[in-house]
């Protein structure tokens, strides 16, 4: 790993051994074991059969006992009952689901125009245009109902995730103890493979929008919590002093001093909540998320790439709009009016909104009870008003078929297929398959030693011991080869992401405009459903390791670019100026000033990339893999919960090891640089 750092003071190991000695000893042991492998007894190559404990049965028994005998399911079902009520009400308002308060579906024109007014109120005409256009797009391409179905869950999951995450974040900031308990839990939640969530989610929270909301929150809470805590911790003592001097109560301190000062971090958290909510739209379709995600999967199932693409565009647009709206809302300062300003003037946006609402509802009443008719029969006026009420699928200007042709034609161009064919051959045959074989050749114990050494080098004694224990647990879970294949894909994807992402981030950091565009690109890739490009990737690269790694790569690039950019831009201008004045070249400035200072932030990015990679490597089973993901798929037949969790936790323990080591390293670095 490129993070290892030469001039760092070496930690002192047990019994007076210096840290680097321990690392060397472990690595030498690993190498000796590997070299001797052909002569080693089987029991030393892989964990022997008698060491594997019957975790599967134990987990099944405990799960059964806690869920049904102790009645834990009643608690979760009670909670999901409350959640369901809220979800149903929102669903009724947005698309007329037959639940309380039993309105009928609102015409799309009403939603679109009110959204545009909201956009204007929060962020001016640009935001109004973006918001309005997004909703008009959804209606015009015939995805209105699905969009509303999706939003009915997002509108509950995102605010809930934001609030809950913020609250837990504040709690973690208040109490070190809470923070220490919550942090590892969050990580487990994030890296526990999605296939492990499927069954518990539908058992505990009922298949449907409720299970989808809970699963979405499980993924979107962690960044919110972490960012809130980081932001609050960073508030400068001067600001705190000023607050105290003006006699703030504790609540006032929090409300008016801490939270506003931590605004930029909280905003990043909010951005991630929204991005992750929309990124989960497709996956959660498996547990009852209605709308766009389910339709996208349906389109993929009958190989309609164009249709799937169109739906993917809608999901990205929604993500961008919601992100911009929420940011504008948080940043917006209260407006002050002169005394005597009339009521309607003060509430001008409310007035416009209500007016538009009444106008479009009125129009839709005119056509109520009318069957949709072709324009020739109805006359233009009626047809047009009908369209304002509801765009039927047949009238929609969906270009699915056109995109479909375009995509498929492009994918069968000789120029394209010959290049990708060559890449596929070279990368698979000369890089990925040999490295896979090599990793499978290495004895289990040697891998454990090597990982321990790496953890020691990065984080010191504590992380090394944890890493050793965690990997031993993985070994005795009994799916070592599959775990190694998983690790292989993860490492390759992260490595590639660093190689490709770091230069991109450096390029982007050179100007404000580029940085903005790059961040938009990051948001797009994070929310554009990966399923859409999986199929073209399969057509080009086949069902093979290179396709798997490419699909993970797209996700791992995002945090690498985002955080490297953030880190480089966060370098104080005084320091870069000082470097300029002492006559440093651009390269020197980059390697000696900017990168060292940005490294702790970049490390967070690498860590995020690893977490994302561990998440995506399992999803890549959609293509076809031979790793843990594939075995997890096998557990889906016959609902083998215990088996599923053994596999899920094999992934969790591997991810935890790297996360802990890298975080410890970043923390040390920050202290060293005086940033913490």
């Amino acid at each position: 790993m490129a993070l290892a750092d030469q001039d760092q003071s070496t930690p002192v190991g047990p019994a007076g051994l210096s840290g680097s000695r321990v690392v060397q000893a472990l690595l030498v042991a690993a190498i000796i074991l590997t070299v001797l492998r052909p002569w080693l007894p089987d029991g030393l190559v892989r964990a022997p059969e008698w060491m594997l404990l019957p975790w599967r049965d134990w987990i099944d028994t405990v799960f059964q006992y806690v869920t049904f005998d102790l009645g834990f399911i009643n608690v979760t079902r009670f909670l999901s009952g409350g959640l369901e009520f809220v979800l149903d009400a929102v669903a009724n308002i947005l698309y007329g689901r037959a639940r309380w308060p039993r309105f009928e579906a609102v015409p799309w024109t009403v939603v679109a125009s009110i959204a545009a007014v909201l956009g204007y109120a929060l962020g001016g005409w640009r935001l109004a245009l973006l918001t309005g256009a997004t909703f008009v797009w959804a209606a015009v391409v015939g995805q209105w109902k699905w969009t509303m179905e999706t939003l009915s869950v997002v509108f509950v999951a995102a605010p809930l995730g934001f609030l809950l995450g913020g609250l837990i974040g504040i709690w973690c900031w208040k109490s070190k103890r809470v923070e220490e308990t919550v942090k590892p839990l969050l990580l487990v939640m994030q890296v526990l493979p999605f296939f492990s969530y499927l069954l518990p989610a539908v058992i505990f929270f009922k298949v449907g929008p409720t299970a989808a909301t809970v699963a979405t929150m499980a993924y979107s809470l962690p960044p919110m919590i972490l960012m809130t805590t980081i932001g609050l911790k960073k508030v400068s003592p001067e600001v705190v002093e000023a607050g105290k001097m003006s006699g703030c109560t504790r609540w006032q301190m929090l409300r008016h001093v801490y939270i506003p000062s931590a605004r930029s971090e909280i905003l990043v958290g909010l951005n991630q909540v929204i991005m992750l909510c929309l990124a989960m739209v497709v996956l959660t379709a498996a547990i009852g998320m209605p709308g766009l995600g389910a339709k996208l999967l349906e389109a993929m199932g009958s190989f309609k790439l164009g249709r799937a693409f169109e739906i993917g565009v809608t999901i990205v647009l929604l993500a961008v709009v919601l992100d911009r709206l929420s940011k504008a809302w948080v940043v917006n300062l209260p407006e002050h009016f002169e005394r005597g300003t009339p009521w309607w003037r003060r509430n001008i946006y409310l007035v416009i909104g209500v007016t538009l609402f009444i106008v479009f509802i009125g129009l839709s009443l005119m056509v109520s009870g009318m069957k949709p008719q072709p324009i020739e029969d109805a006359g233009f006026g009626n047809w047009f008003v009908g369209i304002l009420d509801e765009v039927h699928r047949k009238e929609a200007m969906s270009q699915g078929k056109v995109y479909d042709r375009a995509i498929k034609d492009f994918l069968s161009l000789d120029a394209v297929t010959s290049v990708t064919g060559a890449i596929r051959y070279f990368v698979n045959v000369y890089i990925l398959i040999p490295t896979e074989r090599a990793l499978l050749f290495v004895p289990t114990l040697a891998v454990i030693f090597a990982v321990t050494a790496l953890a020691y080098r990065l984080g010191g004694k504590g992380p090394a011991i944890l890493g050793f224990v965690f990997f031993c647990i993985v070994a005795q879970f009994g799916y070592w080869d599959r775990a190694m294949l998983t690790l292989h894909s993860v490492f390759m994807a992260v490595l590639l992401a660093v190689v490709l992402g770091a230069p991109l981030a450096i390029f982007a950091s050179r100007s404000e405009k580029r940085a903005k565009r790059t961040i938009l690109l990051c948001d797009t890739f994070q929310t554009f459903p990966s399923y859409v490009y999986l199929l073209p990737a399969i057509m080009l690269f086949g069902i093979s390791p290179v396709t798997v790694i490419l699909s993970i790569l797209i996700y791992t690039m995002v945090p690498i670019v985002r955080y490297t950019l953030e880190g480089l831009r966060g370098v104080p201008p005084e320091l870069t100026e000082a470097a300029d004045m002492s006559g440093a070249t651009r390269w020197q400035k980059l390697t000696q000033v900017q990168f060292p200072l940005a490294m702790p932030t970049i490390a967070v990015g690498v860590n995020q990339a690893l977490v994302f990679a561990f998440f995506m490597v399992i999803i890549a089973e959609f293509i076809g893999t031979r790793d843990i993901g594939q075995e997890m798929r096998r557990t889906m037949a016959g609902t083998e919960l215990g088996w599923n969790f053994v596999l899920g936790f094999s992934v969790v323990f591997m991810a935890l090891t790297f996360d802990i080591a890298i975080n410890a390293w970043a923390e040390k670095r920050r202290k060293l640089l005086g940033l913490a």
Binding site: A98, K206, A286, E298, G542, G638
Partner: protein, 317 residues
Amino acid sequence: MNFVKSLAVGALALAPVSAFAAAHNSSDPIVIPIHNWSSQIVMSNVVGQMYETMGLNVEFVTTDSQAVYESIRLGDVTLELEVWEGAFGASYRAALAKGGMVDAGAHNAVTREDWWYPSWTADACPGLPSWEALNECADLFKTAETGDKGRYLDGPVDWLKHGKERVDALGMNFTVINAGSAAALWAEIAAAEKDKKPVVVFNWTPNFAEAVWPGAFVEFPEWEDGCDKDPSKGPNPDALYDCGNPADGYLRKVAHKDMTSKWPSAYCVLSNISFNNAQIAEMARLVDVDELEAEDAASEWLGANGSVVQPWIDACA
């Protein structure tokens, strides 16, 4: 749509519409699961619309096609219309054994799930569909990753297809690679189509691919009962899975155990329902080829096939 009227009606429950609703069927919605392949989606909508004409409430929920059996057991989902013997047999049997789910009989349709090739493959390997001829041509199916063996692209592992066991049992010169999803299989067939590259993949009928890519199943030694449990069955006396899959697998319907008492008429209709292969293929075609939305496809299919479904409903009045 009538927004104001609905405001007025407000929280009033829907009035019973027909004899069925009066016959002590619960007014709670019957929850029908939707998966990600067209025939299942259209069929679910067809049955949903049948229930609605009977005055029952229906709701749809999208779910995973394996995890759905746990939801049926718990009663969160009321029924399932497409239980494929091959792909979902294991989950179905496990759920039945744990209790909470009842079997509502089989469709008339038979399913076949086996090795399959698109028609252009036969040009390159004229001995097809015999499996021995396929084995002779193994060279044609090589890929970068499989070296000098041919590649057979099997279905996702949770469909439990035993492709690898069959290759071993019959001593075939093939490597089995598992695709992760139906869509991944389609992508591979589509990519092969351009250069008419020979491929042999897992496929099944009835489904949408038949209409897009004509092809045929590979003929393996015919299935004998016990081929998966008794080594002596099939040509290789020492191995399991040395036969083709049954060419007439079942397609069943199941329901939550309380459906019989909560919506007796609906359950009665469910047990009468029996679609055949042609009807299922037609439902899929309306979506896959005619590009209708599932709901519209269901209405259209019902419009043309009212005489098929009406007796099933009438028998339960």
